[in-house]
């Protein structure tokens, strides 16, 4: 027993000395939780790129843990020392806007930190043989009383473009939004499958996951065609010129605003960029917020991280905390407007 106790004591003393002397710095071992449970997905990839760079810059350890949104928020709630940080994307406030369980108002309950990157891939597709050639065709069809079924994963990033479609239909002709209906599914595989099974006319997808399907010949049951890419043109323009797969950036731009217009209010186009940003415990020391801002600013100034992000088809997008907060608040209020405009019907 004494042996055990001595061992513990020795270990404890050794580690106690390694504790940070001042509390206003990030501790030596940081856990970065993310809002996704997938370690192969875009949130994880993005977070690990940022975590690597940040860890190297600050000389600390950062572990990325894919615990999922619910557990990530819980972990963040429990810890205000800066030992737990979170990275997530627009889902964090969209979930709240759509009233999904477990999503609180991030601007109220957490501190929104810097943005780090954009995934410009959010897209809508139709079967290659579809009669709908463009978003305009789809909205016209809705106007003419044709039911258009759109496969989405409800309650967030996948639904916002669908809500925008309904809103555009409403702007164009009051009541026609009723004809754009959601087919609620889950993963990308499920969404694709609804197209193959003819359960949906349009699906939500992404440039990355669906581009190769658009290269298949029309007689292939799996072939698809882009009709809309929701990214801002300014974002998409920063993508590599060769685009993705066999689709060049210029071709991709054809499907985005302003070439493909899904109107927000009759004047402006609706756009959506999936942005990744930090979330902190609201009690966390202001000095740590600044420390991370400064470190990231330096990292982005060096320019190496951008190369890694671009190699994985992300658009570098660093905004320090205060700018990020303002930007995301504005973004949220736009989408809040869209959602409340079309609410009342079944979305």
């Amino acid at each position: 027993m004494t042996f055990t106790r001595r061992f513990i004591l020795a270990g404890a003393t050794a580690l106690a000395t390694a504790l940070p002397a001042a509390a206003q710095e990030l501790p030596g071992n940081v856990r970065l939780v993310i809002g996704s449970t997938s370690t192969g997905g875009d949130t994880y990839q993005n977070s690990s790129i940022v975590a690597d760079a940040l860890a190297e810059k600050l000389g600390i350890n950062i572990k990325v843990d894919a615990v999922g949104a619910t557990e990530a928020f819980k972990a963040l709630d429990r810890d205000s020392r800066g030992t737990t940080l979170m990275i997530f994307h627009d889902q964090s406030y969209l979930g709240n806007l759509y009233g999904v369980r477990g999503y609180q108002d991030i601007f109220e309950n957490y501190t929104v930190g810097p943005t780090v990157a954009i995934n410009p891939g959010n897209a809508y597709l139709v079967p290659k043989g579809s009669e709908y050639q463009s978003m305009d065709d789809i909205l016209t069809a809705a106007e003419n009383g044709e039911r258009v079924r759109v496969a989405i994963q409800p309650g967030g990033v996948s639904e916002i473009g669908f809500s925008a479609m309904k809103n555009a239909a409403r702007v164009r002709s009051e009541g026609s939004e009723e004809n754009i209906v959601a087919v609620n599914t889950g993963s990308q595989s499920d969404k694709n499958q609804t197209l193959f099974d003819d359960l949906a006319d349009v699906i939500n997808g992404s440039i990355q996951a669906n581009e190769q399907f658009t290269q298949l010949p029309e007689d292939d049951q799996k072939s698809m065609r882009f009709v809309w890419i929701t990214a801002r043109p300014a974002t998409l323009e920063q993508a590599p010129e060769e685009g993705m797969g066999d689709t060049t950036r210029d071709q991709l731009l054809q499907y985005a605003s302003p070439e493909t217009s899904v109107t927000l209010d009759g004047e402006e186009d609706f756009t959506f960029d999936k942005e990744f940003f930090f979330l902190y415990n609201p009690e966390m020391d202001e000095a740590i917020v600044e420390q991370i801002d400064t470190a990231l600013e330096e990292i982005y100034a060096e320019g190496e991280i951008q190369e890694r992000q671009k190699a994985s088809f992300f658009i570098p997008n660093f905004l320090p905390s205060d700018e990020a907060q303002e930007h995301l608040r504005e973004k949220r209020s736009t989408y809040d407007e869209v959602i409340s405009q079309i609410s009342g019907d079944n979305s």
């Binding site: 990839q45 619910t70 819980k74 369980r101 477990g102 889950g186 993963s187 595989s189 996951a209 190699a311």
Partner: protein, 499 residues
């Protein structure tokens, strides 16, 4: 680049090393192939695509195969896919045939792996086209067919089926997950427990709780009789392994490997369903189904050929649709995107060399797995001779690590381990049956999604019979399996009545 340039000493070393680490991960209760791939994924960034894949595929094949070791020797499935291996593996170990059981498992794994690799190599794109013919309806029927094994595994039909449905019921606790197509609402949570139970009980902690902790609690209750350990279990001395075990098993081997491959091809079905499907099939077609669950080599053959068949199968949708067939292959997508390579229907055509390299890596990984395990088995099997007062605490500790790390650090998963450890102990006292329970628990969530989505899409119950010819075939299998179980249970009853 040519294929021969890729097959470098490093490439080979990575496969063999990956396979070894994978086996170790698989062999530790609570550590899975998925986790092995997850922890090594970041390393692959600097290795380049082909070398990175070599490592990951080695880990994958090794991890799935290593799961049989604790399943057979300790009755604790090392990974969810080796669950059916415990049914006949542990009884064989108790009869002193642990080493023999392991050798049977290893050989079956190799055959299963090779069968699926061959299928993958020859007809991946074709199979992907077939797989997309499976809508919600057909997927539900596949799950239903896998669920029929509940009946086959029951000692007492009524109680067994009750246990199975209880497993489904408990699996439904928590959120109807949006990412599976649900509406994100919670259900079945006792008041006040929302905070803990909203994500439900995770599979792996439940599994190791029921099979690991519960068994240890049972031993503790009996006072951990020491005599039973070292002296009693003579590994391998009582019945030696010879390849004659496989006489008459060719069909079983090929069928199980094929079923495993096929289960892997269907996104959302694969994973744990692979070995359950092949086990239930083998039992349905067996000449002596009554011996299943009592230490029947056929059962191990079916289970292990099935779960290694999964490895090749799960790569089909990944490489020809860009969609992972199970949780491990989902991580492989990460390896591709890290290198900026797109996976989708054009992958094989656009990257023929990478594709060939993957096939070669899988082949070598299977052979390496076989060689390593076959020759190390005598030493591995000695684990049962470790005194229990040393072995049990270590198993308990490893279970904690497994439970905590499976979802990247959630303490509730560790408590789940304890809850289901106690539940497992109680269940035996209550004469509930664990095997059907766990099958229900594993398959419950997919059964729900596919059932509800089928009705949501088609609004008619008859769709389950009229959707396609595939549905009809599946019904024939389901009815066959149920009828087999009923007949078996009848004959068992009449023999007990005669006696």
């Amino acid at each position: 680049m040519e294929l021969l340039d890729i097959i470098s000493p490093l490439f080979l070393a990575l496969i063999v090393g990956g396979t070894f680490v994978g086996i170790v991960f698989g062999a530790i209760p609570g550590m899975t192939a998925t986790m092995a791939v997850a922890v090594c994924l970041p390393i692959t960034y600097s290795l380049g695509l082909e070398n990175g894949l070599a490592l990951l595929l080695g880990l994958y094949v090794g991890g799935i195969s290593g799961g049989m070791v604790p399943a057979i020797l300790l009755g604790i499935p090392g990974t969810p896919s080796s669950i059916t291996t415990t049914f006949d593996g542990l009884p064989m170990t108790k009869k002193g045939e642990g080493e023999k059981a392991l050798r049977i498992g290893i050989c079956s794994s190799l055959v299963g792996g090779l069968v699926s690799l061959l299928i993958l190599w020859l007809c991946a794109p074709l199979l992907a086209d077939f797989a997309i013919q499976f809508s919600y309806v057909e997927k539900f029927l596949i799950i239903l067919f896998a669920l029929t094994v509940m009946a086959a595994l029951s000692n007492d039909m009524l109680i067994g089926i009750f246990s199975g449905f209880l497993g489904i019921f408990i699996a439904l606790i928590g959120t109807y997950d949006i990412s599976d197509g649900g509406n994100g609402e919670i259900r079945l949570i006792p008041p006040g427990l929302d905070y803990w139970l909203e994500s439900g009980f995770a599979l792996l902690p439940v599994l190791i709780g029921l099979f690991g902790l519960a068994a240890i609690l049972e031993e503790a209750e009996r006072g951990v009789p020491q005599s039973q350990s070292a002296a009693d279990v003579k590994i391998g001395s009582q019945s030696t392994f010879s390849f004659s075990v496989f006489r008459g098993q060719t069909v079983n081997l090929l069928r199980s490997g094929g079923i495993g491959t096929f289960a892997g091809i269907l996104p959302g079905v694969g994973g744990s369903a692979a070995s359950i499907l092949s086990y239930s099939n083998a039992k349905t077609f067996s000449k002596h189904p009554e011996r299943y669950g009592t230490g029947e080599p056929e059962g191990i053959i079916a289970s292990e050929a099935g779960n290694n068949g999964l490895t090749g199968g799960a790569l089909v949708p990944l490489l020809s649709l860009g969609i992972p067939g199970d949780s491990t292959t989902a991580l492989l997508i990460g390896a591709f995107t890290l290198q900026g390579i797109q996976v989708g229907p054009l992958f094989i055509g656009n990257n023929p060399v990478t594709w060939d390299a993957m096939i070669v890596a899988m082949l070598i990984a299977n052979l390496a797995m076989f060689t390593m395990m076959y020759f190390a088995i005598r030493h591995i099997a000695r684990i049962v001779t470790v005194p229990k007062h040393i072995l049990f605490p270590i198993i308990l500790m490893m279970c904690v690590i497994g439970a905590y790390t499976i979802n990247y650090g959630i303490m509730f998963d560790v408590w789940t381990l304890l809850i289901f450890g106690v539940f497992g102990w109680l269940a035996v006292k209550l004469r509930l049956e664990i095997a059907p329970f766990i099958i229900g628990f594993i398959l419950g969530p997919s059964a729900e999604v596919y059932f509800v989505k089928s009705l949501e899409s088609f609004n008619d119950l008859t769709i389950f019979f009229t959707k396609s010819w595939i549905a009809i075939v599946l019904w024939v299998l389901i009815i066959g399996s149920v009828a087999g179980s009923v007949a078996l249970s009848r004959s068992r009853q009449s023999t007990t009545a005669d006696a």
